[in-house]
Structures are given as structure tokens and as C-alpha cells.
Subunit: 423 residues, 2 copies
């Protein structure tokens, strides 16, 4: 086992992997080395075709399910055995980087290619999946592909969701599947999949999207779980008025009440340990002219915490905190997303840790601050993740960067982990 | 004189004036009894054609200048005498009402029609002007027509200003003048005008756009001046980051620093007497997605005060206050508009007051909170304004409303004032 794992890790080509990542980064390239590649677009399909081409070169078969999740399968000695699964996503944020998501897919293929090049046949099949719409940048929410596949929600849940141009998710998906009609179709879901059973395990490689590995100087993060998230959409309604005449005492100024609401939420979410994540990233004001008092102001809340009890308590306090903070306006508070913290399987965590140690890579355990498809695999099969550092922790930004060396280290550890789990 | 004034006031038809206002309100009507009629659009031209048609019925000649200001002239006994000028504007806010601006133009025409119907010929000519683009809703800033005419700024100042669709002001103006090519063209400006000299006086009728007259139960406001305005555009620049991973201590969150800046400005501008007007009406955030920390936030500041010293001191403190409030981001603060308080001419104020008293209308002196074209007439000729109440002080809003009775009272006082000034 140890010798075979060394051989597999040794066959990982950091150069090939980097070349492929840079080639994919051309599809949707934006200024500053960024990428804007929304799901189910023509750019997305070009990226998938590139990937599928590289996969078949490595003796890997390609199929697609009805959520447009793309599957690469390398056979095992026992084709009836539950496969080991890896992967991530290929879509990007609108103003995203070159590594978020796509690294986990390319790393999975690189691990399969390394096994192929090293002439290793595993006991279990190994599959790489590219989940549809993880980012939620075009169709909200994200993680639709993994949510539909894992049985978290039926695929039809989002049929009527529209993108900024008014295109329905169901229509974009149908168009996409027509474009990929030449690929073998595979049933959606872990039960009823080709092998009729859930995967043996799932392990996803990803850039950290945070600063901890870089700060600690360790190339490998052994991920123990994912913090929980709750998203809210808040609309504050007052009255428009003339900016030059309306006395401040008589105004129902939606911008000013939004200010009061966010200030109160800052106090509610203040965390001296800086573990809680509270973000107001989206603000929209109407009519949004300089000489009219705003009649309406909307904003988003993204709240995250690894501790379920904290997430529940703070999240439940959001609506009452907003209402208590308003002076003159009314507010509607809608929860748009709620995911409890996920705890990864001890066996997968241990397998990643063993692989990092065997490869001689500095490593540390940490929880994921970002949301990942892996979250939805937790109820389905033993699940874990491998992180590699990204510069200054920057992600969802064109400046996102990971070194070829760190990306290669992550894939070496992934190859060893897959071999371990597929034994 | 008193008898002639009674005759002129008696010939004012509140019913005809209301019918015309309601007819004009159909052009650009929006839900809730509102109007959206931007300057130099086809709707604007339709409104001008209606007005010009009514004007010629009353023996009034029509012309246009190169800023597209529309002029209605009723001859005097002495055609060489400096004319008395009244008027306002015909464009509306994007989400505006049926009375702001258009009332002053229709009232001016109604006063001329009353003189016509009463068979009165004044010593001086009387002119009604509809100033181009007072609102600044399509092309910023507002008051371009009166600024260009009064010599405040050359018309070319705004040639490159573009509307939301990217159309240049110069191109919209040229297209408009082509559409009105059949109208006699008149030179732009008080000097070099048809009579070669500034007007004898300017008096503008307008709804108050504030709550004071309604609260006092008086139908006529004798306006003593206009408070000063300073407008600023602020852009706060931080860094985008992943909402789930970036520790709050490491963020450069533009939304949060905008919050700090506005909170500090609220403290700077706090006024227990509620005379100062401070408004943040426009807020724009980028990239404006819920799970990305905002890298940029822009907002507008509209600051107004009747006291020149206060306006200068507070306005000059805005940029340093913003900079001191920022925790992690940078800010650019640009002053986009600066108009000192205007004080109206004592003779015009007295004439309006006499007219209101002679007409038996309850009246009071007050300063204008809103900005008006009259501001730019102050350096040119003796200037004043007449206000009528509007319901709850609401303006720049479809719910803007003034009663036919109050609008008639305002026009009776205007007719008497014009007769007085044109004697």
C-alpha cells in the first residue's frame, strides 16, 4: 500500500495540472487574472468539453445526470463496489478567481490520470464529479447540483428561479442537457445510481479561501467540517420625500433606518474571538436619486458560525433586532437559506491526515469557513475535504491565487487519500 | 390700479387651470397619480406643444432659445420696456407628481389669459418661461436652462453629460431643437435678449414641497429666499473578500465603512431645530452579491441650509468627517454642486405680500427648502416666488397633491403681482 501510494503520488504532474487550470481560466477571463464563468452558459459547456476530452485520454468515462452534474468514472477491480467520489464545481463567482471550485475537479482528474500513468487499478471505482451551480451567482441559491443529487431538495425546487436576464433555471438546464445530449445519461442520486448504492466516501479538494494555512505555513488543511450558514433578505420601507424640504423629524427615510438596523446587527453579532462571520454584501436603494429621501432600502445578511447553538440563537435574533432598531420605517425579513454546521466523518479526516503525513506535507486540522458541495454529501456517505493555501486568504476576487506547488501538494494528498479509501 | 387688479384676479379661471394641469399630467402618467416626464423627451415635447397651443389662443407669442427654454410673450404698451418674467419648469422627477414645476408654467399662462380675457394691456410686456431640465433627473445637475440663460455657466458646460442610456445632453438638446425648428428662435440670455436688457423682475409660482403652509392653514407663501445646497458624491473603496472565510478583523468592508461615514455625518449635521437638511438618497454597492464582502460603496450627500455660514462650515467639514470615520477603507469625496443661499428682492417680496393681502388670502413669509430656477435669476433681476400648500408637504412622489382652490389662489396672487410689477 505505502509503495503503491508513493507511486501514485509520484505520478501526479503539477505542471500538467497547472497548464489545465490556466487553460480553463481563459474561459470567462476577466481583467486582473479573474474569471466570470456562470453555470449552464456556453463558457461552462466549453470548460466541460475540455475536461471531458482530458478525461477520455486517461481512460476515464464521462456521463451526465439530469441536474447536469458531470461524472468522470475510472473503473475498479470490483465494478459492483461502491465508488470513492471526489470533485467540486466548475462555475465561478461573477468577479471570481481561477481556482475556486475548478481546482477540486482538475485535481480529481489529475489523481485519476496519475493512477492511470502509474498503472494502478484500485479495488473500488473512483469517480470525479463536477457539481452544477455551486456558486449561486447566476441562479440562487448555490449548490443546486449537490442538493438535488443528495436528496436534500428535489431538482424542481428551483425550476422557476430566474437569472438577471429573466431566464428560468429549468430552461437553462434543459438547453444545457440538449447541448450535452451525446453524453451518456446517468440517473440522479446516490440511490439508483449506476451501482445502486451511495458512494463509499467523498473527499473534495479546494483552496482554503481563508488565511489560516498561509499564516501557519502549512500546505495541507485537513478539514474537520463546515460552519453553518443562514442568509436573510431584508427590505425596509419608508416614504420618498423631497430632500430639500422634508423636515428630518417627519421623514420615513429607508436609508437611515437601514443604517440603524445594520448598526444593531453589528452589535448583535460582535464576536471578540472573530469566529462569527457577519456580512452585508448587497444593498439596493429606491428610487436612488441624490435629492429624494429613499422610500425603500434592501440588504442581504450572510451569517456563519461553526457552532450550531450560536448559529441558531444569533440567526433567530436577527428579525427582532432589526425591528427594534427601526425608528420610522417597516421591515420584512426573509430567511433565504439555512444550513446547519456540518461535521466530517472521522475516518475520512483520518485518511486525509495519514496521506498528508505519508507525503511529508506540513498539515493542520481546520474547519471550513466557506460553503461547499461537501456539506450535502455528509448525510449520504463518509465525507471530508482537503484544503490548500490561497494567497492572503483572498477568494471571490480576481486576485485569488494559489501556487502550483501547493496545488500539486494537495493533489498528491488527494491521490493518496483516494487510493486509501478505494482499497 | 386696485380695480384693474381685481378684474384680472377675477378673470383667473381655476377650472381651466386645473383642466390643463390634469391634461398635462397624462403625459408621462405613472401609477398612483404620478408623473415621469424627463426633459427633452418626446413627452416633454408633447407637453410643450399643448402649452404653446393654449398660449396662442390667448394672444401670446411663442419662441425658444438655444437652451430649449420655451418663451411665451404678451406684449405691453411699451414694447421697449424690460418685461416682467414669470414661469417655472415642465420636466418632472422620475417618480414625481403632477404639480412640481408645471404649476408655475400653467399659472403664468393662466395669468396672461386672465389679462387677455379682462382686456387689460400692461405697460411692460409679460413673459412666461418654461426652463429646461430643472429636475436634473435625466441629465445632472438640474437647472441647466436657467443657469445657461442667466450666465451662471455656459451651455457647453454640460455637453458631455449623459443620461442613463448613454445619450449626450448636447445630442438630446440638438434633437429637441430640430423638433421645435418651426418656433421662432430667440437669443439665449438676459442681455442680448429681444429687448436687450434684463427683465424688470422675475416671480415664480410653485407648490411649497414642504409642510409649513398646510400646518399654518395659509394658502399663500410669500417666499423670502432659497436655502443653499451643497451636493457631494462619496466613493469608499475596500477589498472584496469571501463572506464565509475572511475574518472581520482583516476585512476592508466598504459597506461597513460607509455605515461609519454616514453615522459620523449624522452626528456632524444633527440640528435640534430641524432646519438643516441632510440626505443620503443614493447608495450603490459593488459587486453587490450577498456572499461577497463589498469592495466598493458609493453614496450621495444632499446638504441644505438657509444660513450661508452654516452651509459653508458644515459642508467643508464633510470630507474630513468621512475620512476620520473610516476604519479600513479609502474614500474619495467630490463636491458636485454648490449653491449659496439666495435672498429675494425686498420689492418683489413686498409686491407678492401686497397682492396676497389685496386678494384676501391668508399668507405668511417663508424660505424655500427646495431648489428652484428662481435661484439663478437673483443675480440678474429683482426676484421672488409665490408658494401654495401641498398635501402633507409631500413632493417628488406620485402622492404629491395641491387643491384646485389653492392653485387658483396662487394664480390670482400671481396675476395681481405681475400687474403690479408691469405697471
Amino acid at each position: 500500500m505505502g509503495e503503491m501510494a508513493d507511486k501514485a503520488a509520484g505520478a501526479v504532474s503539477g505542471a500538467r495540472q497547472w497548464r489545465r487550470l490556466m487553460r480553463l481560466a481563459e474561459l470567462g477571463a476577466i481583467p486582473g487574472d479573474g474569471v466570470n464563468r456562470a453555470c449552464l452558459t456556453d463558457l461552462d459547456r466549453q470548460a466541460r468539453r475540455l475536461l471531458a476530452g482530458w478525461a477520455t485520454e486517461a481512460g476515464v468515462s464521462v456521463s451526465v445526470d439530469e441536474a447536469a452534474n458531470l461524472w468522470l468514472r475510472r473503473p475498479g477491480q470490483d465494478e459492483a463496489a461502491a465508488p470513492v467520489l471526489t470533485g467540486s464545481h466548475m462555475d465561478s463567482q461573477p468577479n471570481g478567481g481561477r481556482f475556486d471550485g475548478i481546482y477540486g475537479v482538475v485535481a480529481g482528474l489529475e489523481a485519476l490520470a496519475a493512477l492511470h500513468d502509474a498503472g494502478i487499478v484500485t479495488h473500488r471505482p473512483i469517480e470525479v464529479v463536477a457539481w452544477t451551480n455551486e456558486e449561486g451567482g447566476r441562479f440562487a441559491p448555490g449548490c443546486m447540483g449537490s442538493m438535488a443529487w443528495s436528496g436534500h431538495s428535489p431538482l424542481t425546487t428551483w425550476s422557476e428561479v430566474r437569472d438577471a436576464e429573466g431566464i428560468r433555471f429549468a430552461d437553462a438546464l434543459a438547453e444545457h442537457l440538449r447541448a450535452e445530449a451525446t453524453l451518456p445519461r446517468r440517473p440522479l442520486g446516490p440511490i439508483g445510481g449506476p451501482m445502486g448504492s451511495p458512494p463509499h466516501a467523498y473527499v473534495e479538494a479546494h483552496i482554503e479561501q481563508g488565511p489560516l494555512l498561509e499564516a501557519a505555513g502549512r500546505p495541507i488543511g485537513v478539514v474537520t467540517g463546515i460552519q453553518g450558514s443562514r442568509w436573510f433578505s431584508v427590505t425596509i420601507t419608508g416614504d420618498t420625500a423631497h430632500a430639500g424640504t422634508a423636515p428630518l423629524a417627519l421623514r420615513r427615510d429607508a436609508v437611515q433606518d437601514m443604517l440603524r438596523a445594520i448598526t444593531a446587527l453589528n452589535a448583535l453579532t460582535a464576536d471578540p474571538d472573530d469566529v462569527l462571520r457577519f456580512t452585508v454584501g448587497r444593498v439596493t436603494v429606491a428610487p436612488n436619486t441624490s435629492n429624494t429621501v429613499a422610500g425603500q432600502a434592501s440588504f442581504s445578511i450572510d451569517l456563519r458560525h461553526p457552532d450550531r447553538a450560536v448559529l441558531l440563537a444569533i440567526g433567530d435574533a436577527i428579525a427582532p433586532t432589526i425591528r427594534a432598531a427601526l425608528r420610522t420605517c417597516d421591515a420584512t425579513v426573509q430567511e433565504t437559506f439555512h444550513a446547519l454546521p456540518a461535521v466530517f466523518d472521522a475516518r475520512v479526516v483520518a485518511a486525509v491526515e495519514r496521506a498528508a503525513a505519508a507525503d511529508g506535507q506540513g498539515h493542520m486540522r481546520l474547519a471550513s469557513g466557506a460553503f461547499h458541495d461537501a456539506q450535502f454529501l455528509v448525510p449520504v456517505c463518509p465525507t471530508g475535504m482537503i484544503f490548500v493555501p490561497c494567497r492572503h486568504g483572498i477568494s471571490h476576487n480576481p486576485a485569488e491565487y494559489a501556487t502550483p506547488e501547493h496545488l500539486e501538494a494537495g493533489t498528491r494528498v488527494l491521490a493518496r487519500t483516494l487510493l486509501d479509501l478505494a482499497a
